[in-house]
């Protein structure tokens, strides 16, 4: 078993906290890991990345060979593009859809999202929306940890002791709120993974996720939803709703009707 992950983002987005949680979860499970990170010059609002390798056997290189990463986990959508050469065939991209526009030539947002949804296996997560709904707008990175979890050898609950270590000093409520957004991320990731595994395209998964309330996603029902997403009436119904809808048995019933 091995999981090679490229973590990506912009300096200041907390990718080292993501790495911290994954590192510690791995070691708590008795797994081996190596994680190469970038310090110094690259941190001042520039592109930052980390190579993260988790395995049940000894790991040789600190760096992931090109074409070998199982996942690109990015806290910023444009940043994914810099590391696609590392992704293996069949690897997954999980990206926040919230842009950081600290450069003057940032491309058109819709094009950035479309480029990601054109990839074979990509999940675009509304981490900003999820985090701010929990009044935790700085915790987008925690949403992304949750969204990645279904693809990793961890349960989302396993991060709690390490979230405690990171944020415990700020009080129990901060730890709890971080775990809430992490769980919401997990719901999105697990649901989307089930859809992708059922053969639904990245673009359709993205379109569906944009229409539903993340906290109402129940991954166990994803298979059933995969079936109705191909129905012509589905999008007319979903797009007709003004706000995001609850993804519950009621919705499934209306879509199947």
């Amino acid at each position: 078993m091995k999981h090679d992950i490229i973590l990506a983002g912009v300096g200041g987005q907390g990718i080292l906290s993501i790495a911290y949680l994954l590192d510690h979860a791995a070691i708590a499970r008795g797994l081996r890991f190596k994680q190469a990170e970038v310090h110094g010059m690259a941190q001042r609002g520039g592109a930052v990345y980390s190579h993260m390798r988790i395995s049940d056997s000894p790991i040789l290189s600190d760096l992931i060979p090109e074409g070998h990463a199982d996942m690109i986990l990015s806290v910023e959508p444009l940043e994914v593009q810099r590391y696609l050469n590392y992704l293996r065939p069949g690897g997954v991209v999980i990206s926040n859809n919230e842009p950081v526009k600290n450069i003057s030539d940032y491309p058109d947002e819709a094009k950035v999202d479309a480029a990601l949804m054109a990839l074979p296996r990509a999940i675009l997560v509304d981490a900003a929306g999820i985090a701010s709904a929990a009044k935790m707008s700085k915790a987008q990175n925690m949403v992304m940890v949750g969204a990645a979890t279904p693809f990793l050898p961890f349960e989302w609950q396993e991060f709690e002791p390490f979230v405690q270590r990171l944020f415990g000093a700020k009080g129990d409520h901060v730890v709890k709120a971080n775990m809430t957004v992490l769980e919401a991320g997990w719901r999105v990731g697990a649901f989307a993974k089930a859809l992708l595994d059922a053969g639904v395209s990245s673009a359709v998964v993205g379109r569906f996720l944009a229409r539903v309330e993340p906290m109402t996603l129940d991954p166990a029902t994803a298979g059933a939803f995969a079936g109705v997403l191909a129905l012509p009436g589905t999008w007319a119904f979903l797009d007709g709703e003004g706000a995001r809808v609850a993804c519950d048995p009621g919705l499934l019933k209306s879509l199947s009707a």
């Binding site: 110094g40 040789l60 290189s61 696609l84």
Partner: protein, 528 residues
């Protein structure tokens, strides 16, 4: 007793040194070495270890040598270019030798992630005729650091540990061992050794050369220098340090060729010869300069054997090694990843933080210089070097710590006017003061702007030595004319008025200093 800990390569070296019983840690910040010192600093009080940043690497090295003189162990850490600054002390300490164990951990930066060059510190170890260890992973970093102090005390020599960015800044689990107590205070009786008058130095240098066969013998039988056979003798491979990991990765752990992994120097020549005899051709894959490759090739090459590596283009000469680079060099087919799915992917270079005082200072300096047209400004190393990029386009040089001051003086000697240099407070304390003192003696027509943000910001807001009134007093003490020492708090809202102050100094035909004092916003955030 053994514990598993999650450590950066830097931290693994630090913990190895702590467990070896160091009494002092010395250094000056510099990526990628900074976290080594900071790890020791974090437990210095509890462990009774002296750990305070030094003004520069030379000072750090000499402090450590003093501790060695007193019989105690210490570690010095710095980035590769720091060793250029400490080189005088370092090279001479090979001649003096050491009393208490002394280990220099120097972090090279192949690929220049945050440095001016890719210099390879193995040459320095060879130059000083002292042993060098080069860990391939975090575990070796810990084990070697622990053992390096014994090696130092057995050979009475400083020992170099060369690490590189990808080890320094990569985290892995490390099994740690027991700790040794610190050495007791025991000043050396051999003060002759430390007094390098030519009469003494001739004898000591002779002794140093006589130690070389022992150092070589230690390398030949070192467990860190391993020659492993493989079924296919058409080719042999030599790798150093972390390059071994990439080679192993490229072959998924099953390398078909004989391989020599070199991690202790002087280079084990008998092992190199043994490998050469086994194979038809040799590929040398080094993280760093072609140090071993040049040595093996010599002037005439090896008769009947093809030597491949950086010198014949088999391995790229510049940049760092990666598993993909090594796989290509070994002629393996590499797995392609995906191409970008967006037409144009713009770069995202690092920038000054929003609200950074340096940005305002540049704006004001540019405004003050406007009457003279497009004036070049000498600058130095720190966050303010980002003033090179738009929208500032404010600086026109960055060479080595302190160079802004002396280069400005040289340009003024040549007749340029106005001549302006900008330097950070920590860089000024590191190497700017002497240049300024020299300029003041001659009243060279130039202006030095000291950007005092109260911290060593670039490397992570470490404590600076020359800030606030201390800095003013230092500048005054160096002898600058008090009428031409100005202090401003740079703010773009007051640009016009502050540019006026600067313009008068730029115009002045003598040495002037402007201190632009405003704290780094990151420092304020951290509550410093």
């Amino acid at each position: 007793m053994a514990e598993r800990e999650l450590l950066l390569g830097d931290e693994a070296v630090a913990l190895g040194a702590i467990h070896a019983g160091i009494s002092g840690a010395y250094g000056y910040p510099g990526t990628p070495s900074t976290e080594l010192f900071e790890f020791v600093q974090g437990c210095a009080e509890a462990e009774g270890i002296h750990a305070v940043w030094s003004a520069n690497e030379k000072v750090a090295y000499e402090e450590a040598l003093g501790m060695s003189f007193a019989g105690k162990r210490s570690i010095i850490s710095m980035k590769h270019v720091g060793l250029n600054v400490a080189a005088d002390a370092f090279v001479n300490s090979g001649v003096t030798g050491v009393h208490g164990g002394l280990v220099l951990c120097v972090a090279d930066d192949p690929g220049m992630h945050s440095s001016q060059n890719e210099q390879d510190s193995r040459y320095y170890a060879k130059f000083a005729l002292v042993p060098c260890l080069e860990p391939a992973d975090q575990q070796e970093a810990y084990d070697m650091a622990r053992g390096a102090f014994d090696l130092s005390e057995q050979t009475h020599l400083p020992v170099v540990m060369r690490i590189v960015t990808r080890l320094a800044h990569s985290r892995a689990d490390v099994v740690t061992g027991s700790r040794c107590p610190q050495n007791a205070l025991n000043p050396t009786a051999e003060t002759f050794n430390f007094t390098l008058l030519p009469t003494n130095a001739r004898i000591l240098y002779q002794r140093l050369t006589e130690k070389q066969p022992d150092l070589l013998a230690r390398s030949e039988c070192s467990p860190w220098n391993t020659l492993t056979d493989g079924p296919d003798h058409s080719r042999g491979v030599i790798v150093n340090g972390i390059a071994w990991n990439y080679l192993a990765e490229a072959f998924e752990g099953k390398i078909p060729f004989p391989v020599l992994k070199v991690c202790q120097y002087p280079a084990p020549v008998a092992k190199i010869r043994a490998l050469l005899e086994m194979v038809d051709e040799l590929v040398v894959i080094e993280e760093g300069y072609p140090f071993l490759e040049e040595m093996i090739r010599g002037v005439t090459g090896v008769h009947g054997k093809r030597i491949r590596g950086k010198l014949d283009g088999t391995v790229p000469r510049c940049g760092e090694m990666t598993p993909t680079v090594v796989a290509k060099a070994m002629g393996l087919a590499v797995q392609e990843g995906l191409a970008p799915s967006l037409e144009v992917v713009p770069n995202r270079p690092p920038t000054l933080c929003p609200g950074c005082a340096h940005g305002d200072a540049f704006l004001i300096i540019r405004q003050a210089l406007a009457p003279w047209g497009d004036v070049r400004m000498f600058a130095d190393i720190g966050c303010y070097t980002l003033g090179f990029y738009p929208p500032f386009n404010a600086i026109h040089s960055c060479v080595d710590m302190g160079a802004s001051v002396s280069m400005a003086a040289g340009a003024a000697h040549a007749g340029m006017h106005p001549v302006v240099a900008a330097i950070g407070d920590s860089t000024f304390g590191h190497s700017g003061m002497t240049g300024l003192m020299t300029a003041i003696r001659e009243n060279v027509p130039m202006t030095l702007v000291i950007l005092d943000n109260g911290t060593v910001a670039m490397t992570g807001t470490q404590k600076t030595m020359c800030t606030g009134e201390d800095l003013v007093n230092i500048v005054k003490g160096l002898g600058v004319d008090p009428d031409h020492l100005k202090i401003i708090e740079p703010h773009r809202a007051r640009a016009a008025e502050q540019a006026e102050i600067l313009r008068a100094e730029f115009d002045y035909r003598g040495t002037s200093v402007v201190i632009a004092r405003r704290p780094c916003v990151q420092l304020k955030r951290k509550g410093g």
